[in-house]
């Protein structure tokens, strides 16, 4: 059982791949940070407006990232508002109510939805806008609402899957305790099962939030614009951080704008890795709390 040439080659190959992958990522992130750290400042976000005025929406910010960040924030809020109830309810249905064959069909359905390219989802949102515009109310344009709705479609399968898997993995013992004491199915779901799987579900939700924050293709087709300030209503155009980065990359007019682009990229990266970190940390902490000894 000695180490022969082939073993060494395999090990060498594996190490090379690992180093190549890690190295490329470090190169990319490092490049970004090196080029952009100088741009990180309050001025990047708030430009000439005082931060307090901007945060209280007393004054518009021009030339800073604040409107884009607010746009992204509202996007996340709205799309989660659509996707959470729908996704949680569907996940509960699949885990608790659906018989085997029906579960398989719906599962396949949602897998397909998860696989649809984001730009096709955006195209779908755009088509809905056209439909509503022509037949319903000609005041409907691509806007915050439509973008949020389309993003909701994008992350729906992830929330459904996470909820379903989380509920299904609850041990039988816990599942049967409440009903054996006389609780109804509904009481069982809301008082026992959901709290038991809250950590997994939450981490899935946080990942979905991350997906909303970073997506560009969907919002490009459904209402994001280059300049909009703070959105005044859900029917108006808006800015968003990932689109800002794309826009700067395609058409920066001078070095200072390019630096803003680097800064925006770093901020977006921080937001997304932060969300990822929260989802992981939250999962570990909550699982520890709800560990059942039996």
């Amino acid at each position: 059982m000695g180490k022969n040439v082939w073993d060494m080659l395999l090990g060498f190959f594996a190490w090379c791949c690992a180093i190549l992958l890690a190295g490329s990522m470090i190169l990319i992130i490092g490049f970004l940070i090196l080029k952009g750290y100088k741009a990180i400042s309050l001025e990047l976000i708030f430009a000439n407006t005082s931060p307090l005025d901007a945060l209280l929406f007393k004054q518009q910010v021009f030339g800073g990232l604040f409107p884009a960040m607010v746009g992204t924030f509202f996007l996340i809020l709205l799309s989660m508002g659509f996707a959470l109830p729908l996704g949680l309810a569907s996940g509960i249905f699949l885990a608790e109510y659906a018989p085997g064959s029906i579960k398989k069909i719906f599962s396949l359905c949602f897998d397909i939805l998860a696989g649809v390219p984001s730009i096709v989802i955006g195209l779908f949102g755009f088509s809905i806008t056209i439909l509503l515009h022509h037949s319903f109310n000609s005041q409907i344009f691509p806007c915050l609402l439509i973008s949020a709705l389309s993003l909701a479609f994008l992350v729906l399968p992830y929330i459904i899957k996470t909820t379903q898997v989380a509920l299904e993995s609850i041990p039988l013992l816990i599942r049967l305790t409440a009903p054996s004491l006389g609780a109804t199915k509904l009481e069982n779901i809301f008082l026992v099962l959901l709290p038991a799987s809250i950590s997994d579900i939450t981490s899935g939700i946080v990942l979905a939030i991350g997906r909303c924050a970073e997506d560009t293709a969907v919002i490009m087709l459904t209402g994001v614009v280059a300049v909009a300030g703070i959105p005044k209503s859900i029917f108006s155009g808006f800015e968003a951080l990932p689109f800002y980065i794309y826009y700067i990359a395609s058409e920066y007019s001078d070095q200072s704008e390019l630096m803003k682009g680097y800064g925006a990229a770093i901020i977006l990266l921080l937001i997304c890795s932060g969300l990822f970190g929260i989802s992981h940390w939250g999962k570990n902490r909550l699982t520890a709390k709800t560990r059942f000894n039996y």
Binding site: M1, G2, K3, W6, D7, L10, G11, F13, A14, W15, C16, C17, A18, L20, L21, A22, M25, L27, I28, F31, L32, A89, S90, I92, F93, L94, A98, L108, C109, F110, D111, I112, L113, G115, V116, P117, S118, I119, V120, I121, L123, F124, I130, L156, L186, A213, E214, A217, M220, L221, P242, Y246, A249, S250, A265, L268, L269, C272, S273, F276
Partner: protein, 282 residues
């Protein structure tokens, strides 16, 4: 009490049907909005021809080829590296280094694609241009390199999972017979995990076909049928993003729904294929 239970059940059922309805609705919308092309008997021309709106040619063949080329090339770049990394995680150094790499790969999934595109434009493209001494650096090669990096985590995590699923008893058996690590991999792990590996490849390919930003920012977006990896090319996804601006009534505009439909069918087919192959490992 009974009543409330019943209503709740219906609500949950309704939510699920609504969600599933979205899946179907996307396809339906794509088909309905591409109907004018099918009705005018232009379907063959559009699927097979070149793109030149000035001369009334609206063929999306260059875009179909562009999508397939970039996705395939990125798979070519990514597969060996992903396989190597998953071998590292599961076989070569399954302890601390392996777990660290796995966490690192998981973190990679959090990086937004627009960041890859952004760095691609300012770091990769000039270097490719200088290295190849030809062209603008915005080509299939550049896009595939970046895209390969984007789809690697998908494959690595899938491969690792498949290797981990191989029953310990089999592994112990190989050890008992005096097999080396390499033999273990070639004769046991790889064949056993193959369905999972295939699933990972299919899913990664679907992901590569569906990416918009990297292709839009790095591949050059020319409308000619690409003949080499150093050619500029356009994908179906970038085409949709660019043509969304065109005149709504025109045939040009309608072609983007056909592109959307094709993408939907391609990725759904991939999902079905992946489901089938994943089923095989169990």
């Amino acid at each position: 009490m009974q009543h409330r239970e019943h209503i709740a059940g219906i609500i949950f059922w309704g939510a699920t049907v609504l969600s599933a309805g979205v899946t179907l609705a996307v396809l339906v919308f794509m088909v309905i909005l591409s109907l004018p092309i099918i009705k005018n008997d232009m379907i063959l021309e559009v699927l097979m021809g070149p793109w030149s709106p000035d001369y009334g040619l609206f063929g999306i063949l260059p875009m179909i080829v562009g999508t397939l080329c970039i996705a395939l090339l990125s798979l070519v770049f990514s597969f060996p590296v992903s396989l190597g990394c998953s071998i590292f995680i599961e076989i070569i150094r399954p302890g601390k280094p392996g777990r660290f790499l796995k966490k690192f790969v998981r973190l990679m999934t959090a990086v937004p694609t627009v960041i890859y595109g952004f760095v691609g434009v300012f770091l990769l493209v000039p270097h490719v241009r200088g290295f190849v001494s030809h062209g603008s650096g915005m080509c299939i090669l550049s896009a595939s390199l970046m895209l390969g990096l984007v789809i690697s985590p998908t494959m690595i995590l899938f491969f690792s999972q498949s290797f981990a699923r191989v029953p310990k008893t089999y592994l112990n058996a190989v050890d008992a017979l005096g097999g080396t690590q390499f033999q273990k991999f070639i004769y046991l792990l790889f064949p056993q995990a193959w369905p999972g590996i295939l699933t990972g490849i299919i899913l990664a390919f679907g992901r590569a076909m569906g990416d918009t930003l990297i292709a839009l920012m790095i591949s050059g977006n020319s409308v000619m049928l690409p003949t080499s990896p150093l050619d500029s090319a356009r994908t179906l996804t970038a085409h949709i993003a660019m043509i969304i601006a065109a005149d709504f009534g025109s045939i040009e505009f309608k072609t983007i729904f056909l592109c959307g439909g094709i993408l939907y069918l391609l990725t759904s087919f991939g999902i079905l294929l992946a489901r089938f192959s994943a089923g095989k490992q169990n």
